[in-house]
């Protein structure tokens, strides 16, 4: 009997805190079961920098700068199924709190006036991606196939979601696994 083909999964964190990735790792020993059926392409877990053709793309975080848009578009182009994972990818989340604050005021507060700061400088390296004046949910930039809410989504919800998708089922979360917080 031949081994069934493994699903290719890519993950990335845009304007997020890596909490969703932590929650993914939090499936603990089920990770061993997971790697039997999936293979990770581009992901902070593999440190692969660009994603090739994939079955599932897991996107954490919203879009807050130009680089986020490039990464997100690369994911959309390469992933058959794109999953907006976590509050930030779905609504903008906590980073979107700055949407009603002028970007310059934001920088001043963080780099000049923040408690304990002396002679702060606003970073201005050409390598740094250009920030947007507002943070956007990824669904405002690309088409999204599935939404997995939570801040972060519980490990069990991620597990259920991925195993449903791997089995070709429409992912379904039980009441207690559906959370916005």
């Amino acid at each position: 009997m031949t081994e069934p083909k493994k699903l290719k999964v890519a993950t990335c964190s845009l304007a997020g805190c890596f909490g969703c990735h932590m929650s993914l790792l939090d499936i603990d020993e089920k990770l061993f079961e997971l790697v039997k059926v999936v293979e990770f392409d581009r992901s902070p877990i593999t440190d692969i920098k660009h994603c090739g053709p994939c079955d599932i793309g897991i996107v954490e975080g919203g879009v807050c700068n130009a680089e986020n848009v490039h990464v997100l578009k690369e994911f959309r182009k390469n992933c058959r199924v794109l999953v907006a994972t976590g509050a930030c990818a779905i609504t903008g989340g906590i980073p979107a709190w700055r949407n009603n604050v002028d970007l310059w005021d934001c920088f001043q507060e963080v780099y000049h006036y923040g408690i304990g700061l002396e002679n702060g400088q606003i970073p201005n390296d050409p390598e740094l991606p250009l920030p947007f004046d507002k943070v956007h949910p990824i669904g405002e930039v690309v088409r999204v196939d599935h939404f997995l809410p939570g801040c972060p989504p519980p490990a069990d919800a991620i597990w259920k979601f991925l195993t449903d998708l791997a089995a070709g089922r429409e992912p379904k979360l039980e009441y207690e696994m559906l959370h916005y917080d």
């Binding site: 779905i90 709190w97 949407n99 669904g139 405002e140 999204v144 009441y175 916005y180 917080d181």
Partner: protein, 239 residues
Amino acid sequence: MAKTFILDGKTIPFEEGETIMEAAAAAGVYIPHLCHHPEFKPHGSCKLCTVSIGGRLGAACTNKAAEGMKVESETEALNGDRRALVQMLFVEGNHVCPSCEKSGNCQLQAAAYHLGMLTPHFTHFYPARDVDASHPDVLLERNRCILCELCVRASRDVDGKHVFGIGGRGIRARLIVNAASGRLADTSLSVTDRAAEVCPTGAIVRKRHGFTIPIGKRLYDHHDIAEAPVAGMERPGRD
């Protein structure tokens, strides 16, 4: 013999003058709602409770029950409309549930859970709304206000104070307070007022009590709002 009407195929008894919502609640049947509260006059504004009454759409909280009427509530189409209404409420305000004291006990969130909302879907407005932290005991967080006017009704009808009102129109509609300064601290609101604890969302919250019950251990973390309609309150039943 008691008068009855039919709700989703079930016979519901009612007393003359009762609304569809009141009769359904007394019979233990949940109809999704946000601006309705059993202790206050109906407001009929959120439209979440919209049902089909003999084929015509109407609010269950404002339409009176009538002998033999046929009402449908749990249909795919009506729940789809309800989901869209809740989604619009989410994008019209700034609902950052992960940083909200009310999360887990919030009726807007609970209604969204009940309706299986996975995403607010519509483009977010991210409106600019003011927070009023001037009052020593009560926080007014307008980003989370859904303009249901429960606080307006509670302050006017129970507390007799007229502390709250709605000003402005459309996306600029917002909760205003009865003080020349526009600050909550300069109104007669007291933390013991009914208006200070009736808010279904996290727009009016008691200060220093936000996390007495940890996130994850709150009412709607474990119970569908259909089983437990109001945090801290059993479903009002008929004796």
